[in-house]
């Protein structure tokens, strides 16, 4: 399956790259001694490197096409490795227990720093799962998701500053504020979809950030709010170390709660309505699904998790300012959902852990972080467009008299 023409194509690619990079890679003008250095060695590196990369690229694409063809011929559903593990009880039950024990013991084994990173990752797991409702299930591209996150964080910070409300009261209030804002954003965008919706939500996210940055009387502007108390443990104030561990466990519980709710939502009537909305709006209306209500609940429920995650974030960092809630955060959350697999809970969790933890552990290569990030996204979209764990949807089985039962 590797033909001569493939090699020829790769060869031309490498020639082209050598030509393109010639001015910067080969020529170096030394302005002090007024001489021109010719670094021909670099050209050889570029040539060999681009040839190999192009060749591997072509090979992988070929293989993917071949795989698709084979899947069509076989007519059997290709079950991925991950999915097979998920379906086999004897694999996933011990796996789940192991992961559970690891998660519970994590802050006791590892240092404060590690726990801290893990808490950040868990916050993003929550955000990812929340956005997954909006983007993955209901198919509404939301680029301003971070606004709800910001609102949650600020509602805790401000409520605490003005009224000394504790974390435990602020957590549901933050969630409710998120819901409220989700509905508020939902109304004007009811008629929009696709790119238009993305632009409007992007604008909305920026509006919230700009308000926080400029409305000094309300939000203390760019200087932010500091000294936000960490959650107290039954009225006791804990040490920095102790409270971080406590926050970690709260996050675990919240994540489990989120997973539970999202799972239940997926199988509910409203979940089915979201999926129908994602697939076809007109047909969805013809089936008697209330489009407005369905869209609003998607926005509202998605935003609720962001609001709660925001409260957690404020409690964890004890300091917030608008710089934590830029478009970039929205993009990262969206990447988590897309990379992990739209509509799949496990995928989003894995996506969040990868995207948040890897950059932390690879701090040595932090200069190349964005480069690697971009490459990973491009490669993923070409070779696994469904995400790491593509949506494992429930299929309704219908066996004549046996009746219909959902399992999968």
């Amino acid at each position: 399956m590797i033909s001569f023409s493939e090699i020829k194509k790769s060869f031309f690619v490498s020639l082209w790259f050598m030509f393109l990079t010639f001015p910067i890679m080969v020529i170096r003008v030394n302005t002090i001694e007024n001489i021109v250095e010719w670094r021909w060695k670099n050209m050889v590196f570029v040539g060999v490197g681009s040839f190999l990369l192009s060749f591997v690229w072509r090979y992988l694409i070929k293989r993917k096409e071949y795989g698709l063809k084979k899947a069509e011929e076989g007519e059997e559903m290709r079950i991925s490795f991950v999915r097979r593990i998920l379906q086999e009880k004897k694999f996933y039950v011990p796996g789940l227990i192991a992961v559970g024990i690891f998660l519970l013991a994590f802050p006791l084994i590892f240092s404060l720093y590690q726990t801290n990173i893990m808490v950040s990752a868990l916050i993003f797991v929550m955000l990812g799962l929340g956005l997954n409702i909006v983007v993955g299930l209901a198919g509404l591209l939301d680029l301003g998701y971070v606004a709800f996150y910001a609102v949650g964080a600020y509602s805790y910070a401000l409520l605490n500053y003005h009224f000394h409300l504790s974390f435990w009261i602020a957590l549901p209030i933050g969630g409710a504020m998120g819901t409220l804002l989700g509905v508020l954003l939902g109304f004007p965008v009811l008629r929009l979809r696709g790119d238009y919706l993305a632009i409007v939500t992007l604008g909305f996210g920026e509006i919230i950030r700009l308000i926080l940055e400029n409305w000094n009387e309300l939000s203390f502007g760019p200087s932010g709010i500091s000294n936000i108390p960490r959650p107290s443990f039954f009225g006791m104030d804990l040490s920095v170390h102790g409270s971080m561990i406590f926050i970690y466990y709260i996050m675990i519980v919240l994540c489990l709660f989120t997973i539970f709710v999202v799972n239940r939502l997926q199988d509910s009537r409203i979940g089915r309505a979201w999926i129908a909305l994602r697939e076809d709006e007109v047909a969805c209306q013809a089936m008697g699904i209330d489009k407005a209500k369905t869209k609003l609940t998607a926005f509202a429920l998605g935003a609720t998790w962001a609001g709660m995650a925001g409260v957690m974030f404020a409690a964890k960092t004890t300091f917030i300012n608008p710089a934590s809630f830029t478009v970039w955060e929205s993009i990262i959350i969206l990447c988590i959902v897309v990379l992990g697999g739209m509509g799949s809970v496990l995928g989003v969790i894995i996506g969040a852990l990868i995207l948040i933890l890897l950059p932390e552990y690879l701090r040595a290569f932090s200069e190349y972080r964005m480069l690697a990030f971009g490459i990973v996204l491009v490669v993923m979209m070409i070779f696994r467009p469904g995400g790491i764990v593509s949506d494992v949807r429930r299929f309704y089985r219908f066996e004549g008299a046996g009746g219909k039962s959902g399992d999968g």
Partner: protein, 237 residues
């Protein structure tokens, strides 16, 4: 059963329906024929509440439904087979059917209806685990009709069920339409370009031109009407 009285529907400033009145009684198959852009689909959309009329009145079973929301109208028993089929491409056949029963809660009845549909369209039973988008055009149309039937409509609105299908499949679809009408006593309102076939299955027909109803009569008489034959049945006289 359904009474449309002098409705005017607008798209922005453009008046698409200029006073349309239609009456449908229970158990009938009514067809609405006309050229492209005459306002047939708009009439249907107005009845469904997706593009509500600006003036005029629509009543269903003596209940005004003029400005009701689409989902409320569906819950009253008016279900639509949208133009161009519009099945859910990534859901399986069974899931598509299940969506049709979205407003219903009687699980055992839904199951029965699904079995009935698999009897009506055996090909769908064969493909029940296949994604809707992988079906052929004819199968998709069958699925769209079945999905609408899952809502147990009293009035079934169909928008161009023959669109883009081979003549043989079209014939099959029309036979099914007739069968649904006689077996379940479902009233059917059929919007069609294929006037010849539509008038053959329908009891009565309306002819539409430029947003107005220009003619209404028994289907048989419309079929033999000279003007109709010339304009819509492609006969040169």
């Amino acid at each position: 059963m359904l009474k449309v009285a002098d409705i005017h529907t607008f798209y922005g400033n453009i008046e698409a329906l200029k006073g349309v009145s239609i009456e449908i009684s229970e158990g009938e198959i009514i067809t609405l024929i006309g050229a492209n852009g005459a306002g047939k689909s708009t009439t249907l959309m107005s009845i469904c509440g997706i593009t509500p009329p600006r003036s005029g009145e629509i009543t269903f079973m003596d209940q005004p439904i003029t400005n009701m929301k689409p989902d409320k109208i569906v819950s009253l028993g008016i279900c639509q087979v949208p133009e161009g089929r519009r099945i859910f491409p990534y859901l399986t056949v069974t899931e598509n059917l299940d969506m049709g029963a979205f407003l219903r809660k009687d699980k055992s009845e839904i199951k029965k209806d699904m079995e009935y549909i698999f009897e009506l369209f055996p090909i769908l039973a064969e493909r029940r685990h296949q994604a809707g988008g992988t079906l052929s055009g004819g199968e998709q149309q069958m699925l769209a009709i079945s999905r609408a039937l899952m809502a147990r409509p009293r009035l079934l609105l169909m928008d161009e069920p023959s669109l883009g299908l081979a003549p043989l499949i079209v014939k099959q679809i029309f036979e099914i339409i007739k069968k649904i009408n006689t077996e379940n006593n479902t009233t059917i309102f059929l919007v069609e370009q294929n006037a010849n076939l539509a008038l053959q299955v329908a009891h009565r027909g309306y002819v539409m031109e430029n947003g107005r109803i220009v003619l209404s009569d028994e289907a048989g008489r419309l079929l033999s009407n000279e003007d109709i034959r010339k304009a819509y049945l492609g006969e040169s006289i």
